[in-house]
Amino acid sequence: MKGRAFGFTGTMLRVNLSRGTMEEEPLDVDASRKFLGGKGYGAYILFRELRKGIHPLGPDNKLVFMTGPLTGTRAPTGNRFCVCTKSPLTGGWLDSHCGGSWGPALKWSGYDGIVVEGRAEKPTYLYIRDSQKSLRDASWLWGSDTFTTERLLKDEHGADGMPRVVEIGPAGERGALLAAIMSEVRAAGRGGPGAVMGSKNLKAIVVSGSSKPDDLVRDPAGMKAAVREAHRKIAEDFRTSKARSGGLVIRGSCNIADGINEAGGWPTRNFQEGSFDKILEVDGDAFADSLWVPRQSPGTRPCWNCPISCAHVAIIEKGRWAGTVTEGPEYETVWAFGPQCGISDREAIARADYLCDHFGIDTMSVGNTVGFLMECFEKGLISKEETDGVDLRFGDAEAMVEAVERAGTLRGSLGRLVGNGVKRASEEIGKGSESFAMHSKGLEFPAYEPRAAQGMGLAYARSDRGACHLRPWTAGKEMLGWNAMDPRTTEGKASEVKTGTQNIAVAWDSSGLCLFSSFAYDEAVVLKMVAAATGFEYEDLDEFLRIGERIDNLTRAFNVREGFRRKDDSLPDRCLKEPHSVGPCKGLVVRLDEMLNQYYDLCGWSRDGVPTQEKLLSLGLDFVSEQIHGRGGTHG
């Protein structure tokens, strides 16, 4: 480390649960200039510290909680932290991100990030207040749902300022491969980070701190100007502006459901169709008109420092699930328990959302897997013996909710099948079900039909953490009509996916900003805020964006080291061999091989998907090249 860190506290905390030790270490400022924070810095740590082949749920795996340089600053939406680890779901790289207030609180407590190692002998939680830290007994919390855990810990430590909590629920404790890490009903949900936390007997991390946002910044005047520009752009954009009743503000993330459905891209009944005939019963307006409480009501709260405020709160007042209160459901969750399962019952969707948050499990992957099992059940590939007597058919809301409830604790055969995800379920069921188990690398597909958007097909297949809709989100251009790209063709998709992935990796996933701010302002605005916060003097925007390419090659190399190759950049046969049934892309399949060749060539990777030595060295990734190619270079 050279010089003082700005935008960061300059201190990392390393916790070894096996030994019960906690040690502070300096943030490597040179590394943070090259990898920024968040995902990038987490990858820098884990590539060097994790040995190839370790078991994701063993004590050798590590869990990195990492903020970015804009987390906890006045940058609008600067509230994100990420969790990096080796995924138990995919066996490869995982970064999962979360908003709320915990990330800023960690920063204000004196740490940029926490590296968790080993495994505690008994249930434990970590408590931090202004750099004072202790490991404490969590036996009294073990078995509690996430809401109860958070409330009990806030009661316990509420006298010490405003404690913020991340925690796991019963799903993480029991090692469900779909388990999430939760914080204030928000989730680092994808890829099973909750199972890793549970495997370490770590129930929660409580943080509170008294630093202020301005304490972290190198150039307060420059920051003020850049933040003002970012706010202005958010206020002007039709999608993010409160004054313009922007879609994200009024109808939440579910504001896109209508457009995606019209484009034939809303997967229905486990991707057998691409359009849901009951769209008007489950779109953003339908939830706003029925279940969501009015904005600004008590209990509705946006993430810290977010002028967009996409979050909504649903309350079920009557009937079988009366008393259910849940944040959301968000777009992906509405899809997962709605069209994916052939269900238009909004209360059932909200109930399933609540149960997932309660148990601490990923809504997207759970709903995907339930839809898959419904198809298996209807095709006679599984019977009531495997579903514990549940008549698991498309459109049956009660059966769907029952399956979700069982998944939360891995209860019975059905709970185990759902809670460990679609890849394991299809491997156990066999009988050809693998062809319609909708995942890539083991991570379940999200709410976009790739046959209706070739770019999304490539994005799902090449993503470092498995089928992800955010790396990048080509759906906006392919299906929603802004800066339109033809969803039917492969033209330009490799370039779009490469550039989008890399830019997101640096400007949002490593800076501490929410990706939704990208709808209003671009990477140049992010750079202004990063430069003001950190004092890093990047030559130009290209040099800043080159960080994204460096990060993407680093996580790619992480997976290559674990044995991932082109064969793993794959999609199920349903996408490759069964033509799409509706809409403008009717008759089309994903032309993946063609796009992968173009994509690898653009990236400077071999046709087997391995970054070349030349590419790695050009990005300053010498330490990576040595592991992938050896000192002399052996693998093209």
Binding site: N255, I256, E262
Partner: protein
């Protein structure tokens, strides 16, 4: 005469109705359709800009594809076309 099916969402759907058929003169384009609908909504609501372009707060799909791909407001309408009117949206 050309008959098209209009599907409108969010606030536009509340005002215009969610789905209905519209008859237009032969040779009409998307801009013509928007002017007709604008007349139904009343004063103060703009579905088409004074320069003839589609305003940034509105997204239009023609048979499920962005109308930007086929000429924007000048995209020609054919018998049986489905025109979806959506507010600018983002999220996911």
């Amino acid at each position: 005469m050309v008959r098209v099916r209009v599907r409108a969402f969010a606030q536009l759907g509340r005002v215009l109705g969610h789905e209905f058929e519209l008859r237009l003169k032969s040779g009409s384009d998307v801009g013509d359709l928007l002017r007709v609908l604008e007349g139904r909504i009343g004063r103060g609501s703009k579905l088409i800009s004074s320069d003839g372009t589609i305003p940034p707060g509105l997204s239009i799909l023609l048979n499920g594809l962005s109308v930007q791909l086929s000429g924007g407001s000048q995209a020609a309408l054919s018998e049986g076309d489905v025109v979806s009117l959506l507010p600018a949206s983002a999220g996911g």
